[in-house]
Assembly symmetry: C2
Homo-oligomer: 454 residues x 2
């Protein structure tokens, strides 16, 4: 493309963009299948051959017409035909060429697909907003399509007057809109022991970020006359078959928790709790109770099943930590990342996401040598509290093996830990709350893989 | 719902939410059809009847079970059955109950649907992010689904070395992500003369707001060695059949203009320029050239068809203003708005959008008496430059006729004008750049209609 070596790099952004065929079929939990590996290898060799010939850009680049003044590109079919009408799709969908960018279930991770996870394809996304159609899913008894005119929310317990609200009742209340990330407490959970999964979709894809609209929970608590002195906790219960129940402190309930109906400008999607879910900024996703049907005010935590046998952190001494629900400062490079390949040397825009359940991201550093040296990344605006922050980083790859890492720091001064630091405190038996620094290894042939660096 | 009069209001947020049947069929350009009018009337009467009986909430509210302690809501089908598995929809879509929230073509507005407009349903949206599937459309020869591996961008003219870029070339360049509104210069164009269309979808729906990701145009201009002294302008050309061409000042080109591939986290949608479009923050949508295939650097404006016979402002003296492309400070109340109905008296969260092509919104005031008195609205965060800002406003409707207005002020001190002020300067013959204050009239029966207040 250019005479500048600094612009000479090319990235195979696939597996998910621009490639026909499915990824799920040929990525197994233990890495790339021979088919996929062979495909990437061929891509790499083809690119190498083109570059060896000195071509500045791809061999199939269009010829330039015109008399010396290269004014006109060779006409393409789409420039010489009548297109589709407006509102051909009253609700639009992505291009057919993007069909491989999907949320995907990790094969074999769970026994049933109703109590399972579908991961967001972070490797193919940009900015901080997660398209609602690619928001990660975590259900405990499958998702339901609830008729909003039939849905009810009860607020009761230590209140002056228990009430049952319809959606019409709730949606007329004073509303606020805020952008927040949501991360499952188990995100990156398969990585405690070793580098188990091949792509960032599976290592970090239980992570999404949206603009939520709803009524502050404090408004509802005020409306029922909640006793906020004796009532130190609220219980939130979901309307699906699992009846998910989670305890939330009254302090959080009165600060930034929302009872939300809006997500990215429209009503919540059924998979994400339509028509009503709790939004608990900074806290693990399980507490963002979906299909929300009940809020109870009480004077003690409820210790429900999903607060005692699940979503606890098993410590090295055999005890477990309960109610460790804040998602601590964390980051990950989303591209280049596992399963992608650098097709030649030169410039790459290294990009990723950083977030903290404690507030704003203050800084992100990137290392290309496994943490020996660090340089500061650019943060895209806006940088919002308890929200994803997109970072970008200029890198010239010289063809040597490299170890790509990112390290986030939040406004409280918390520095994202290395694996060794995390394990020194928490051991290796946990599933939840792994916020260690992720490493992507770049081999001399350009292939990127998931590896562990202590 | 409540013993507090301040919470007693109910809004029929439909026509678009929660109602089965189509809106397009029964809203004509001149107002609500008898069918729709009758439906709203029935809704209003039904609600009135329920309230007259003193019911705190809807008559079909579920019974509360349990022994005095109202712990359990009557079981619903979705709480007693197995739901859908994760990744049932690898790319999710809205609930079937939201099917009426669509972008819609205005019947009869244009002669063909390929050179036409589909409007964003602002009346049913929340926050500032427009769902990509509901982004407004304005095409000049229909939209095309372009194969990204075949797409090319040429940059030439007053440059050291003309270049042709593939998508791979472009997507490896340093990228930025920014949230911006895009508004067609003709938005609200039908309102110059009188209140012509019934809903905010048609008065203001050529307006959307997304997070865009791309490479700054300045990086590409640097890459080709553009002469930015002689080259005071760039021409942007689209790859569809209309070959849309627009002149942009070099000053804008070097500041915040992007060559973008990302929209709301994923690749652009075909209707919005997939795989590449120009993002020209603060400037009317026609300059955000879609399916971008060519950038030329030159020393004078090009005065193309769409800069001379269209997208010009006809002044009272018969002359026209050209290149008036900045979208000035503007706002609109999106709910309650035309076609909706207040179903009873009491509290309403009045909500809307404000924006300015000059920078950030500083303040929004709301009037309920046609501009005689004003109170300040709450602005939701984030408040970003050249981006939509969501505002909310508490209002207790006492049942009297009301005239709802919003008035935005931007950080330059520009105050959104009344119609009289706008017409004093610009007359009534224009189509483009109508940023006057919008008025929604609330009748004593709760119906909301589009009216003009000078």
């Amino acid at each position: 493309m250019s005479d500048k070596p600094s612009r000479a790099g090319r990235l195979r952004r696939a597996p998910e963009n621009f490639i026909d065929g499915t990824l799920a079929a040929d990525i197994a939990r233990d890495g790339l299948s021979p088919t996929r590996r062979s495909f990437l290898q061929r891509s790499f060799l083809a690119a190498g051959a083109a570059l060896a010939g000195g071509a500045a850009f791809a061999a199939d680049a269009p010829k330039i017409a015109g008399d010396g003044d290269p004014m006109i590109l060779e006409p393409r079919p789409w420039a010489t035909s009548l297109g589709q009408p407006v509102a051909a799709r009253p609700y639009g969908v992505p291009s057919k060429f993007e069909a491989n960018l999907q949320r995907r279930q990790s094969p074999g991770l769970t026994q049933t697909a109703q109590a399972s996870v579908a991961f967001t394809p972070l490797q193919g996304l940009f900015g901080i907003i997660t398209p609602s159609g690619l928001h990660f899913e975590r259900h405990h008894q499958g998702w339901q399509e609830i008729d909003p005119t039939q849905h009810r929310l009860m607020v009761h317990g230590l209140v002056r007057e228990a009430k049952v609200y319809t959606m019409d009742d709730i949606m007329r209340l004073p509303s606020v809109s805020r952008m927040h990330f949501i991360e499952c407490g188990a995100n990156t959970g398969m990585e405690w022991g070793n580098a188990a999964v091949p792509t960032v979709q599976y290592t970090h894809g239980m992570l999404s970020c949206c603009e939520f609209t709803g009524v502050p929970l404090s408004v509802l608590l005020d409306d029922v006359g909640a006793d906020t002195k004796r009532g130190r906790f609220v219980l939130a219960e979901g309307g699906d078959g699992s009846g998910m129940t989670r305890t939330i402190s009254m302090e959080a309930a009165l600060s930034d928790v929302l009872v939300a109906w809006g997500m990215n400008g429209e009503m919540l999607r059924p998979e994400n709790g339509y028509p009503l879910r709790l939004v608990v900024p900074g806290v693990q996703g399980v507490s963002w109770v979906k299909w929300l049907r009940r809020i109870k005010v009480g004077d003690a935590p409820w210790n429900t099943k999903d607060e005692t046998s699940h979503y606890v952190d098993l410590m090295p001494d055999g005890q477990h930590r309960q109610y460790t629900s804040i998602q601590e400062c964390k980051s990950v490079i989303t591209s280049p990342s596992g399963g992608q390949a650098l097709l030649d040397r030169g410039y790459f825009n290294v990009t990723g996401l950083a977030w903290s359940g404690r507030g704003r991201i203050k800084r992100v550093d990137v290392s290309t040598d496994g943490g020996k040296s660090w340089r500061q990344a650019r943060l895209e605006s806006p940088v919002l509290p308890k929200c994803l922050t997109r970072f970008n980083f200029d890198w010239n790859w010289d063809g040597s093996p490299a170890l790509l890492q990112s390290r986030a720091v939040d406004e409280t001064g918390f520095v994202q830990p290395r694996y060794r630091q995390l394990r020194d405190v928490r051991g290796t038996k946990s599933i939840y709350h792994n916020n260690a620094i992720q490493t992507w290894q770049v081999a001399t042939n350009g292939e990127v893989t998931n590896v562990h660096v202590d």
